[in-house]
Assembly symmetry: C2
Homo-oligomer: 206 residues x 2
């Protein structure tokens, strides 16, 4: 996850490499410490990039943050959270599999630090309209993907007719976001506990 989605390093110009390097370093720090608590100087420490280069590539810190969401976070989350749901035969199974992978198979994520997207929503959505919009796109598309998947399940007769896909996808997304938060306090055990109960919940939709 959060691998390169632009062209490979070898095919990139030097300028593109520095820009991407800034975004990746920023992403790592912001994930652990938060956006506001991460200074530009922090991003440049132990890095060949200087402040001049930073402000050549980005007008200000906010513009860098938005680029980070769109160019690092969005592609990364798309691969693990949205792509696996496309064209699924059994939504109940696929959603649970996607979640299991998300919690246990993404090496970058650390329980202690939760989910980068959830963190950024919590911190920045109320404070900055541009961040609000960019982050809204992330979770809306995820919810859409689950909603469509559940709709397909209903059409195929796998999912019960009285299930409201929009409502259920919202409920599931909330569970994910929340357990990422609680994991910061309770550690991995609550992940597995959550996944078990999610399984129960999903099964009862069939």
């Amino acid at each position: 996850m959060f691998a390169l989605h632009t062209r490979q390093y070898l095919l990139m110009t030097k300028a593109e490499t520095t820009r991407l390097g800034i975004l990746q370093k920023a992403f790592g720090l912001i994930y652990r410490n938060g956006y506001q608590a991460t200074s530009i100087d922090d991003i440049l420490v132990d890095s060949p990039v200087t402040k001049g280069a930073f402000f050549y590539h980005f007008k200000n810190k906010e513009e860098m943050g938005l680029a980070m969401i769109q160019e690092i976070m969005y592609p990364g989350m798309y691969d693990v959270m949205i792509k696996p749901l496309a064209g699924s035969a059994n939504p109940v199974q696929e959603i649970h599999l996607m979640m299991t992978n998300l919690f246990l198979k993404v090496p970058f994520f650390e329980v202690k630090y939760g989910c980068p997207a959830v963190n950024l929503i919590d911190e920045m959505a109320p404070l900055n309209a541009a961040f609000h919009k960019a982050l809204g796109k992330l979770i809306t598309e995820w919810q859409q993907a689950m909603e469509t998947s559940l709709g397909n399940g209903k059409a195929a007769g796998i999912v019960r007719a009285d299930v409201d896909p929009k409502q259920v996808s919202c409920f599931i997304a909330a569970g994910y976001s929340g357990i990422r938060n609680m994991g910061k306090l309770l550690g991995t055990p609550c992940y597995t506990s959550y996944l078990h109960e999610l399984k129960n919940y999903l099964t009862r939709l069939q």
Copy 2:
């Protein structure tokens, strides 16, 4: 919610009033802007309290933050989240009622800014051990209360025998925490949507 739980103003010494005033002002600002983004100067702006008074009552910013959790947040949450669950006849009903009140009847909370406890967990749990501990107490006790309530429900035959109270209370707490996060992006509609699906989920536990 978040009313006084110490003795009334009239019975308080001037010093106690100042101290409490600082904590309440800090709570309001930290709720909206975050702990790290709220400076001590911010807390003292438009206030009769000066910096000298602040550092007379608190050793440093961290100590004030911890006092805020214990003296403002904990009592406030106890009243709305834990007390209503004690000695409940029907846990399924009581939990849903508690949540409904929590989302729609607490005037202090604003959708845009989520839940103060969830916010603080997200920001501070990974960064500060003392905050981690104080906040852990909050949600652990809440989970405990729900767990006990569900256990009683099982004993009374209202809740199904195959329900795992600990697992379910974790699942429910995660849902709450998560929808507070999502509400920052999607507004009140997702609150009602969540409450409906929570009702469905809880009903299936009977």
